[in-house]
Symmetry: C2
Subunit: 276 residues, 2 copies
């Protein structure tokens, strides 16, 4: 017996799937999120997640049978959907025809004093984002963090980590990197300090310590603020050091994702790579 | 006598303005583009451009009279528009109520052998983008280039420099930086080589020269490819050196804008800033 077939875009399950795709409140309420596309669904499965529900078009299954099998394996609720139902759910112009619903990671993503040591590598390098509004910036920063070898991210406020745009920009990095959600960044930064790590506040201020002169490459967390306002005063005050990217050009022009990329690069670039 | 007032969103001028905002073909055909919002319109005026047409809501004029005066100064065609006409034109959710139409820069933006020396600083550092599809990445790279003090950009194929999304992500950098449009990147790179400059192809390949070991900080152009495919083989072959960002993490995960940011940083960071 094959999977249950859903034809109509107005089917109740499709409507719920669409809501889960578009609404952060719906994701919190149901404790679940949707991934759209073969690559992201596979990334999630390969990182050990088991989907609660999988929706695939017959065209997808015949075009990518191996991916379809890998994504649906172990999932109790697999549905076949028509192309028009897929188009109704996706926020992309040309959906591949595969969606999977996963449970939110929940308590894995919270940091508190008792679990800090289990979750954080005290010799590692972490990036913390405060109130970043643009899901593209959030996702791109996760992707850069993984590429450069950061140990994880702390995310406080701003856009939803589970939004389709953030997940797409992250290309799976938000599923593989340890990601922690903080209600308030200052409190999270204090946990790092109490554990003996060094907290850095990134500020666009030429009088702050140039990141190139930090002289420390481990046991760090670097906090970056949002696109318009930068870090909150409380977050800056919670940090041991204020660091900056020294610039020849127009300093106010560096955006959050670019600043985070350059800071992480300086903190994470392979040792033994002198400048010239 | 005040400006001509346009009430209706279906007025012919408003329809044309909307087309110019949304269509790259329309911009080429009319030789003009639209900027949306006070900051971008002012950036353009301050960089020496005179608008062909200005459209403002009375609410904008009374809220920001100085900006309104600065943007409209010297413009022969200033129109007052209703809020609903402004909402019809803008591709943002909350338009500020000011739009200005500017002529395309045209021959200022082309590079050929005869004009190369007039337009290019041979001791400068340039970034060249091939076929970048995402206007957000294009704009963000321009913003980073200006922040770090690059001398200009070469853009070949990909999305339209004059699209509202690219201009918005650039925060005015695309209006201030020297930007050159190339029909083919290999031919443009050969102009740089013939002028005695060094051409660099950025590749995600651990066997290429780490950018940290380049040992040269001037007379350079660094080519970066698009989000999916990277640089074309022809562009790589046209370059003297293949360089890479050495990474501890997942190399395939660095996106075009982040790679460009880190490469420019290494090529442009202030001298006398040793690593540690």
């Amino acid at each position: 017996m094959g999977p249950v077939r859903i034809e109509s875009a107005s089917n109740d399950r499709i409507k719920l799937l669409k809501k889960l795709t578009n609404s952060s409140a719906e994701r919190r309420e149901r404790g679940a999120f949707v991934l759209d596309g073969a690559r992201l669904c596979r990334d999630a499965v390969r990182s050990g997640r088991v989907p609660l529900e999988v929706y695939m078009t017959p065209e997808f299954v015949s075009r990518m049978p191996d991916a379809a099998g890998e994504i649906a394996r172990g999932c109790p609720s697999v549905f076949e959907i028509a192309g028009k139902a897929a188009a109704a759910v996706s926020d992309t112009d040309a959906p591949q025809g595969v969606f999977a619903v996963f449970p939110l990671a929940g308590d894995k993503m919270t940091l508190d004093k008792s679990s800090f040591t289990d979750k954080i590598n005290k010799r590692g390098v972490y990036i913390a984002l405060e109130n970043v509004q643009n899901p593209g910036n959030l996702g791109a920063t996760a992707r850069t963090a993984e590429a450069l070898g950061a140990d994880g991210m702390v995310i406080c406020g701003g856009c939803d980590v589970y939004s389709p745009k953030a997940q797409r920009a992250a290309m799976g990095s938000l599923l593989r990197l340890p990601v922690f959600l903080a209600d308030g960044l200052p409190a999270a930064l204090r946990l790092f300090e109490e554990a003996g790590m060094t907290t850095l506040a990134s500020v666009p201020d030429a009088s702050a310590l140039p990141v190139t002169k930090l002289g420390k490459r481990e046991g760090l967390v670097c906090a970056v603020g949002n696109e318009g306002a930068g870090l909150s005063e409380e977050a800056v005050n919670a940090c041991r050091l204020r660091v900056t990217v020294p610039m020849a050009g127009r300093a106010e022009s560096l955006n959050a994702a670019a600043a985070a990329a350059i800071l992480m690069w300086e903190l994470l670039k392979p040792e033994g790579e002198p400048d010239e």
